[in-house]
């Protein structure tokens, strides 16, 4: 049972926290990591060094697997590359062209897409809630969404292990499957205190955390300094991302990360239908390289993973890899993420302290009296000036009116929601007509909300406005927005309705796996990072334990 001895027990089988350098933020081991030749048939080639790919690599490297990770973005040198500045952090995001469509187009880039070693977790806010047990069977319980082929209880030991590795700080958690956290809750700023008082006034329970931010020290990782730039990359090494939690240990166990290398197609042997490796292009070098591998894991997240599969065509898969049943790229989900800010007479200075502080899952489950299925969570956030300006603009203010609201910045505090928007087949990634500099078609992402989604978002916005009113806000401003990504390569029990089986294995290709957020059939109202890591941890355990033989075709009955 974790959480009894706060901060005292570290995770087993992961030395990342000790491998980090106290004086430099560079990823230790970059200069001395293993190097494999393209012609060397490694045990596993992973595409994408983010939450899913990094955990998978770290676990399997510990079991002696020889692994190469192909990563499109750069190796970071945080001391020089990362800054305490919003506009200066542009390079952390996936800013290559993507086309957005549908009735409710989703902004990409800094909103939800990372690029570089460490992936999007380099610039996520830091909230690390678990999914609820109900998220894995929404079809059975509520008649909406989909049932997963696995349950919460399959993931629970991996949630606990990853929470120890990040490590997660927060109060004892009363919602979903009640649990404790390995580190104590952080102190919170005045801006969050005000919101919490409003929630209490309205009978809404909130708790501090859960955040993947060190409270105390953790090996060579120091205590958070509350500078507030979690979304710009943590220069302190206090906030968890694979860069500090899993990749140091992975490199120490023989993993090679080939950064600034864009995967082109995954190749399938004509005979046997097995993946043979990954073709990639290095930045500034047009020649195609091919890394041979015994197995391949695509971990590029909900936009790039479907894009890579869709343009990996072959005689066996003319419509894209694993796309015999037209399932690749479908059921991509985002969460509604409206934010409401309130104005108070006192200066609250919301820029001080991490943006994630206090949250509530009281509205997470279905309550039929609300008039829609599933629910939402409530989380405090705290935009820096550019984010705050976008918030003010969204309420219709520009010019002199915007300047006036902005001058008042220190008097405002902000609370947001995460709505569980339901999976829909037409919310999907396809290939656009435009191509990128490598000649690969760019991704197009279409998104439209259902009536249930709209009702959920409208209801939740009223709840947070009410919290601000109860807290004594003199004025409120609301921005409707979206956050996070999952789906696009979902797991299931039949190829007609899914892309991978319960072992993350692409239907029809025994040695090709997806290990990222794209496999989630539903998303709950929880930030996805922890679940993506836990899923990768479970997959690694099954691969290492031999329950899963990459040389043999998937068994449908076992799924």
């Amino acid at each position: 049972m974790t959480g009894w001895l706060k901060g005292a027990v570290g995770p087993p089988d992961n030395d990342s926290r000790y491998l980090l350098d106290v004086h430099r933020r560079d990823l230790p081991g970059q200069d001395t990591m293993a190097r494999y030749d393209d012609s060397d048939e490694v045990d596993l080639c992973i595409v994408g060094a983010g939450a899913g790919g990094s955990v998978l690599a770290q676990r399997l490297a510990r079991c002696g697997w020889r692994i190469v990770i192909i990563e499109a973005g750069p190796f970071w040198h945080p001391d020089e590359d990362w800054v305490s500045d919003e506009a200066g952090s542009h390079q952390l995001y996936w800013t290559q062209e993507r086309v957005i469509g549908g009735e409710d187009p989703i902004e990409m880039g800094k909103n939800n897409s990372g690029r570089g070693v460490g992936g999007s977790m380099v610039h996520y806010a830091g909230y690390t809630p678990r999914f609820h047990p109900s998220d894995f069977e929404t079809r059975t319980l509520d008649g909406v969404g989909a049932d997963w082929p696995i349950s919460y209880w399959d993931l629970k030991p991996h949630y606990e292990q990853v929470e120890r590795e990040l490590p997660v700080a927060g109060q004892d958690w009363p919602w979903g499957d009640p649990h404790r956290y390995p580190f104590s809750p952080h102190p919170i700023g005045e801006a969050a205190q005000v919101l919490w008082r409003g929630a209490i006034e309205r009978g809404i329970e909130m708790r501090v955390g859960p955040v993947g931010i060190v409270n105390g020290t953790f090996g060579n990782r120091p205590h958070c300094i509350y500078r507030g730039f979690c979304l710009q990359g943590c220069k302190v090494n206090a906030k968890a991302s694979p860069y500090v939690t899993h990749l140091p240990d992975a490199l120490a166990h023989g993993v090679e990360i080939r950064a600034s290398s864009m995967a082109v197609p995954v190749e399938i042997a004509a005979a046997g239908g097995q993946a043979t490796g990954v073709t990639y292009v290095r930045e500034g070098d047009d020649t195609h390289h091919h890394q041979r591998a015994r197995a391949v894991a695509v971990c590029g997240y909900s936009i790039e993973t479907p894009r890579l599969l869709l343009h990996s065509t072959s005689r066996r898969f003319p419509h894209g890899l694993g796309n015999d049943c037209d399932q690749v790229g479908r059921y991509v989900m985002v969460q509604g993420a409206s934010q409401t800010a309130g104005r108070f007479p006192d200066e609250l200075r919301m820029y001080k302290g991490p943006p994630p502080e206090v949250s509530s899952e009281q509205f997470y489950e279905t309550d039929e009296s609300r008039g829609f299925a599933r629910g939402f969570s409530i989380q405090t956030v705290s935009p820096q000036p550019i984010g705050w300006a976008e918030h003010v603009l969204a309420d219709g203010h520009w010019g002199k009116s915007l300047r006036e609201y902005m001058r008042d910045y220190n008097h405002w505090t902000t609370i947001g929601v995460l709505n569980e928007l339901l999976p829909h087949p037409e919310n999907r990634v396809t290939l656009a007509d435009d191509t990128d500099p490598y000649g690969i078609p760019v991704a197009r992402f279409d998104f439209s909300r259902s009536e249930n989604d709209k009702a959920n978002m409208a209801y939740s916005t009223d709840v947070i406005k009410d919290i601000l009113k109860a807290a004594g806000a003199q004025d409120v401003l609301t921005i409707q927005r979206y956050a996070h990504l999952v789906g696009g390569g979902r797991m299931g029990t039949r190829p007609e309705e899914s892309v991978v089986d319960s072992d993350h294995r692409i239907w029809g290709v025994p040695n090709l796996f997806l290990s990222d957020g794209s496999v989630c059939p539903t998303q709950g109202s929880a930030n996805p990072a922890l679940t993506i890591m836990a899923l990768a941890s479970r997959l690694a355990q099954r691969l290492a334990g031999g329950q899963l033989d990459p040389t043999r075709a998937g068994d449908r009955a076992a799924a």
Partner: protein, 210 residues
């Protein structure tokens, strides 16, 4: 720029910032060269649009036009394009052309958007923000989305400038120093300054007090 924090300068604390952050932020204070992305013909409308949307009407100005130009010239895109819209770079050129066309239609001013009087310019930008402009360049754009493309770049430029931070009393970068005084509200970091006044923005802008 006189704000609510008249004796506050975020740069007083710059010596406590890490070097990488200090270089990125102070580079915004250096003089900018001539525009590289926008043409001489587009420049007046660009400057006027940046002025109207950020409420700047006198020197010293935050060099928003130069900062936007630098971003576009360097090809720093935001990572998405609406399916019914051209690329951001083309959107910008169409918007500036549209502003000039509409200004000539409305006021007969030969000089275009920048030569129109303040009320005309405000009215045109209001039409840009609510999507009511039409004809000419506007018919090639989804007008409200074009406004959001421009405002994304304009606001990111304006509110990344230390002068704007001074105006709003923002504490600024804090690495490796950190913030240790998170509340209650009476407690400030040594470099922070309390606001000298405490007016309500809603009353000032939308009420009768303006």
């Amino acid at each position: 720029m006189i704000g609510r924090y008249p004796d506050y300068d975020v740069l007083d604390n710059a010596e406590n910032w890490d070097q990488a952050t200090r270089e990125v932020v102070t580079a915004r204070l250096k003089p900018y060269g001539p525009l590289r992305f926008f043409t001489a013909q587009e420049e007046p409308a660009l400057r006027a649009l940046c002025d109207v949307t950020t409420g700047q009407d006198s020197e010293p100005r935050v060099p928003v036009a130069e900062m936007v130009d630098e971003k576009l010239a360097a090809g720093r895109l935001d990572g998405y394009r609406y399916a019914n819209m051209p690329r951001d770079t083309d959107t910008w050129r169409l918007v500036l052309r549209g502003l000039d066309e509409t200004a000539r239609d409305r006021s007969g001013a030969h000089g275009g958007f920048s030569a129109a009087d303040a009320d005309t310019r405000e009215g045109i930008v209001a039409g840009l923000s609510d999507g009511s402009l039409s004809g000419g360049a506007w018919d090639e754009l989804d007008v409200t989305r074009a406004f959001s493309v421009c405002m994304r770049a304009i606001l990111a430029a304006f509110y990344s400038h230390p002068w704007a931070w001074n105006e709003i009393g923002y504490g600024g970068p804090a690495y490796p120093q950190g913030y240790m005084r998170l509340g209650p509200t009476a407690i400030l970091e040594p470099h922070e300054r309390r606001g000298a006044t405490s007016e309500d923005p809603v009353r000032n802008v939308e009420g009768d007090g303006s």
